[in-house]
Symmetry: C2
Subunit: 286 residues, 2 copies
């Protein structure tokens, strides 16, 4: 019997070659799988499934993953008998202790906020309703905070957020985002963009909030790259919508650097609807 463990985590992507394991590279997937395997004393690191396969240099505050591990290994690590309520995580103290052990087994650039058996039907990737990313841009040297340089793009020209928001509004809804995606054979590039807007935070940094059911590769960074020239005044606010309508990669769209991007949140339906949502996502995506 296996138990599915849900892992809620954050990471600073600076020193990682992204989420996905690659031979000879330091990746979040490998670092996390090794730590989970060690804490649960597994024969080998578990396979992980993740909500957002972040690229090299991209950060996460609200990443979610899952791993299927032998029930007796989980029970042994949490001090509860296999198949008991405690073994399924009802014992919050035991689950807390194993989360602390995992925290100690991880390097400081990865933090785990949750590590406990998942509700029935949960799939970190396919059960998700939507993902929310942020992108941070400091467009004035006087506001540049060296302590935030790892997660903020320094942009040498001032940005007109009202113009960028007008342009962004025209991209909302379900569209073929092929113009903003690196195409992959046999995979759809149709996505539902639910939110894309810019606001200044208390320090004057321009922060984009981007929400979609799912994102294809490079999509947020290409969307931000299409809005930047609008903010600078070198493109009209209707240009990004024209790029979208053309449905082919436009070389004029610059993909912005990864370090301004952060996966902030993954939203799942209520526990009773997790399996249903996963089945729907699989049908749509594959």
């Amino acid at each position: 019997m296996a138990v599915r463990i849900q892992i809620d985590l954050s990471y600073d992507g600076t020193a990682f070659s992204g989420w996905a394991a690659q031979p000879g590279r330091r990746t979040v997937e490998e670092v996390l799988a090794l730590a989970v395997g060690r804490v649960l004393r597994l024969a080998e690191p578990p396979r992980l499934t993740v909500a957002g396969r972040t690229d090299a240099g991209v950060h996460a505050r609200g990443q979610v993953a899952h791993a299927d591990v032998p029930e007796d290994a989980w029970a042994a690590a949490t001090g509860a008998g296999p198949g008991t309520e405690a073994g399924r995580g009802a014992n919050a103290n035991a689950a807390g202790r194993v989360r602390w052990r995992l925290a100690r087994a991880l390097p400081p650039d990865v933090r785990v906020r949750g590590f406990a058996p998942a509700p029935d039907g949960f799939d970190a990737r396919f059960s998700a309703l939507w993902r929310r990313y942020s992108y941070r841009i400091c467009d004035h040297p006087a506001a540049a905070d060296p302590l935030r340089r790892h997660d903020t793009l320094w942009h040498p020209r001032c940005l007109d957020l009202a113009a960028m928001n007008a342009a962004a509004a025209a991209l909302l809804g379900e569209h073929d985002f092929a113009a903003f995606c690196r195409r992959r054979e046999g995979a759809t590039t149709v996505r539902a963009l639910r939110r894309l807007d810019w606001q200044r935070d208390a320090e004057g940094v321009a922060v984009a909030s981007v929400v979609a059911d799912a994102f294809c590769h490079n999509m947020v960074r290409a969307l931000v790259g299409a809005l930047l020239p609008v903010g600078e005044g070198s493109r009209a606010p209707d240009w990004p919508a024209a790029v979208l309508a053309a449905a082919v990669r436009d070389p004029a769209v610059r993909v912005v650097p990864p370090h301004g991007l952060c996966l902030e949140e993954v939203r799942y339906p209520e526990p009773g609807r997790l399996a249903e949502r996963a089945a729907l996502s699989r049908r749509v995506r594959d």
Copy 2:
């Protein structure tokens, strides 16, 4: 003729052995002086005077320094004739250009927000009315943001901020802070503590705001270290005031690590009172 240049700057203290130049160490003072000397084409780097001599690992968002440079060098760098209004910085465009050149000459962990001739009577150190520091503590693993680990102390036990604020209130006012200072021969340890309180920010991080006319060495980190056991419940809220009253270093007060500390702001009087304030500070401090 020399012109006094005011430099407003921020830095990530992680990779610096503090502000003050030391042979063989990377310090903010040396990095900044070299960059200023290069941008202004000086024969040698200028001497710098700073508002807050931060220790190794301590950050700054609102640091202020000054340098006295030959008027003709400043005029040449800003493209204005010596002694003219433009030479004194009335030409905002020229001053903006030289600030940009300085920004390019500095590494990314030091940013300059202002670089322009200072008002008459200005002294970065002695004209200051007060300094404000912050200290960030994350006391719950679920709130630990790996992107802020460089400027936030991770503390393994939850803190009662109300108890810490009650203890802090008893320390306000003008006192001999010898109990919280590394003593220096011939220098007073009397300081006026104007503010010391804790609040949680939007992410749940406990942030102290500490304001005094000036601080002696290690003072903020020792004050925070005296309040931590109060927050944990292992000391009564009147303990820090008892330590203060004893007026000798108490080995039970742990000096907290530097990376949670940041110099946020230095406040100066209105331009007409800068020289008067500097004269007063010199009299009190020396």
